[in-house]
């Protein structure tokens, strides 16, 4: 073999700036960011995309992508994305939201946007808590799960049951593609990337609202090392939040995707 036989199997995506992220070691927010950058690069849309950042740990997301970004008020990213996409329909527009942002503060916004069939994509990070503010209980916190605001474990009698966001949004006629994936191992991450690709392709082809829920770890607030947090996700989150496609409109199922 000569040096010319060397092939780059993987390199940092072009859609990233050279900044280091503020995320905790092992946090899968970084994996989700990477998949978005990889998909937009493969689609050739890096110069044609506008992201909407949330309030939550991803509040600084705009520092890490080198395409356009705006920052929304808590839970209001779908409203901003609606305005941007309606004004600039040829742009790829996506929101990036945590479970507190999307399913607590912004539940009304996301339901209304999906019901209206807005033509943007939502990347939804479900890490079962409010990571940024210190690990408080979120609508996604599992029954019995201890958080800083449910120190004895979530009691469903007083605190209710977790919300399965993907299944909920899938009931709305305006939603074209709604799926859940996980980020806890390499195989799941590859599957998640394919789902994100499908969502952005659906948007590009004007097929309607799309959302990908990504099961994520928050090692810091869960009090677990990253490896143990990934195991916890697999053992506790996957049974409650199964991965799958919950809404695939006929148009999306017939869609042809170029590249890989």
């Amino acid at each position: 073999m000569t040096e010319t036989d060397v092939k780059v199997v993987y390199k940092r995506p072009l859609g990233f700036t050279d900044r280091t992220t503020h995320y905790c070691p092992g946090c899968t927010h970084g994996v989700a960011h990477r998949l978005i950058a990889e998909v937009l690069e493969e689609m050739g849309e890096l110069n044609n995309t506008i992201g909407v950042a949330p309030v939550g740990c991803a509040v600084f997301a705009y520092n890490y992508f080198n395409f356009d970004f705006v920052e929304a008020a808590h839970g209001r990213a779908p409203a901003m994305a609606t305005g941007i996409k309606r004004t600039l329909p040829n742009k790829i527009v996506f929101t990036y939201q945590g479970d507190g942002d999307l399913a607590s503060m912004g539940m009304g916004e996301i339901v209304a946007a999906a019901a209206r069939g807005e033509h943007f994509t939502v990347i939804f990070i479900n890490n079962t808590n409010y990571g940024m503010t210190g690990g408080q209980m979120a609508p996604t916190t599992l029954p019995g799960q201890k958080t800083s605001s449910s120190p004895l474990g979530r009691d469903v009698e007083t605190q209710g049951y977790p919300i399965r966001t993907a299944e909920l949004l899938a009931t709305l006629d305006g939603a074209a593609f709604v799926a859940r994936r996980s980020l806890h191992d390499a195989r799941s991450i590859r599957n998640a990337k394919r789902a994100i690709r499908t969502a952005f392709e659906a948007q590009k082809q004007g097929l309607g609202f799309s959302m990908i829920e990504l099961l994520s770890i928050c090692p810091t607030n869960w009090g677990l090392k990253p490896a143990a947090a990934r195991t916890w996700l697999a053992e506790h989150m996957l049974p409650y939040y199964p991965v799958g496609d919950f809404k695939v409109s006929t148009a999306v199922s017939e869609m042809k995707i170029g590249g890989n």
Binding site: V8, Y10, P25, G26, G30
Partner: protein, 84 residues
């Protein structure tokens, strides 16, 4: 036989989360406990470079896009075996 590939870990980004170490199917990687990065982490490195099969698993799971994966023979490594 020289190894099938190699990885380069950008120490600006590596936070020593150990995800690549755990998931590498050939036990190529480990944290380098003899050094600290400028951010104060023990960076991941190739403890057993001879094991690398260039599968890319480490890069797929890396939350900080710190890893570049190459398939082929590293320049200067044509004879195979241990590399720096």
């Amino acid at each position: 036989m020289p190894p099938k590939g190699w990885v380069e870990i950008n120490e600006l980004y590596c936070k020593a989360c150990e995800t690549c170490v755990t998931d590498c199917p050939t036990q190529t990687l480990a944290l380098d406990m003899s050094r600290l990065t400028v951010k104060g982490y023990h960076p991941a490195h190739m403890l057993h470079p001879e094991n690398c099969i260039a599968c890319g698993t480490c890069a797929v799971v890396c939350p900080d896009a710190a890893i570049t994966v190459f398939r082929g023979v590293r320049p200067g490594d044509e004879k195979g075996g241990e590399a720096a």
